[in-house]
């Protein structure tokens, strides 16, 4: 398994495509998500068009190590930047974040503007009222899930029923939610900066039926160089259910 050690943590990293040229780094969502959601959707087609793609599992997720702390969006952004440093990526990269990954991508762009050429935000609220409510809702949902996993011993019941896949997902989610500071870290915000300070181009892609659609207008209003694309008939599942449309939109925006 390709690994990179950054900030003392072992990260699972996959790269597809050429070794240099325009680079897209993918940032996945929280808890049940990992780099495979990009590996099977956007990465290969972009790589086939000559884009270097870098995918990594956030700390505590997928096949990366699960340290007990360091789960704020700022930590995730620092992890991303350090992984790029270890990989020897010096020129500015494009970041594509789905759901919570969009928060991390935007945080990275604000933290290190000289290292980020542009940001694609897919179904994420990165500021404003919608963003605050979304993060609050996430913390509440995860807290309830953590309690359920802890007291029902869900994963043990599933393993005994031979449900390996769901049992593993439940076991990993429980270890992350009950064994690390993730929920406390997310709740210790505010995590959003003034989006008018974002000085790179931003593409926002949202589902028309998503509860985050209000964030689209906020993004376009605040970010100086922002393009929006709204996918009709979908909610939060744009990446998985409108992969082709998302790819075309990203290709057009990147002009590759």
């Amino acid at each position: 398994m390709p690994e990179v050690t950054a900030r003392g943590v072992r990260f699972h990293v996959q790269t597809l495509g050429p070794d240099d040229g325009p680079t897209v780094v993918f940032v996945h969502g929280l808890v049940m998500d990992n780099l495979s959601s990009f590996y099977y959707t956007l990465a290969a087609p972009l790589a086939a068009r000559g884009v270097r793609t870098i995918l990594f599992d956030l700390r505590g997720h997928g096949l990366s190590a699960r340290p007990t702390s360091g789960y704020t969006p700022a930590d995730n952004a620092q992890d991303l930047l350090e992984i790029l440093t270890v990989l020897g990526v010096r020129s500015p990269v494009y970041l594509l974040g789905n759901s919570y990954g969009g928060v991390v991508a935007m945080r990275t762009a604000l933290l290190a503007p000289d290292r980020v050429a542009g940001v694609v935000v897919v179904e994420a609220a990165c500021g404003g009222i919608v963003g605050d409510l979304w993060l609050e809702d996430m913390v509440n949902t995860l807290t309830v899930a953590a309690l359920g996993l802890e007291f029902d011993r869900t994963q043990e019941q599933l393993f005994s029923l031979g449900q390996r896949k769901i049992a593993r997902l439940a076991a990993n989610a429980s270890a992350l939610l009950n064994g690390t500071s993730l929920i406390d870290d997310l709740g210790s915000g505010p995590w959003f900066d003034d989006l008018s300070l974002v000085d790179c181009p931003v593409l926002g892609v949202f589902g028309a039926e998503s509860s985050l659609i209000g964030a689209a207008a906020e993004l376009a209003e605040e970010v100086p160089d922002c393009r929006l694309h709204v996918v009709n008939g979908l909610g939060h599942t744009v990446l998985r259910e409108a992969t082709g449309e998302l790819l075309d939109t990203v290709f057009d925006w990147l002009r590759v």
Binding site: S36, S37, Y39, Y40, T41, A44, G162, Q163
Partner: protein
């Protein structure tokens, strides 16, 4: 069972862990998701191991399928692809 299927079964057991496989016999019809309970991130790890072992790149092969199709694939389908890539 073909040589590739035997090797593939061994590599799958490395990824899945031998404990779970005690009760599962891998045949060409065995599916990754339903029968082996493989998570999508574990299929990424499997693709890595196949690249190391066979020097076969699955990215092009998988690019034509969505994630549900990949996970619903049978071990035999993957073995056939590996055999044809090496021919």
């Amino acid at each position: 069972m073909s040589d590739v299927l035997v090797q593939l079964s061994r590599i799958i057991s490395e990824v899945v862990g031998p404990d779970f496989l005690l009760g599962v016999e891998i045949t060409p019809d065995t599916t990754f998701s339903d029968d082996l309970g493989l998570e999508s991130i574990e299929f990424v790890a499997l693709a890595d191991k196949l690249r190391e072992h066979y020097d076969v790149d699955l990215v092009g092969f998988l690019a034509d399928m969505d994630i549900d199709e990949i996970m619903a694939m049978s071990v035999g389908t993957l073995a056939t692809h590996i055999e044809s890539s090496r021919a």
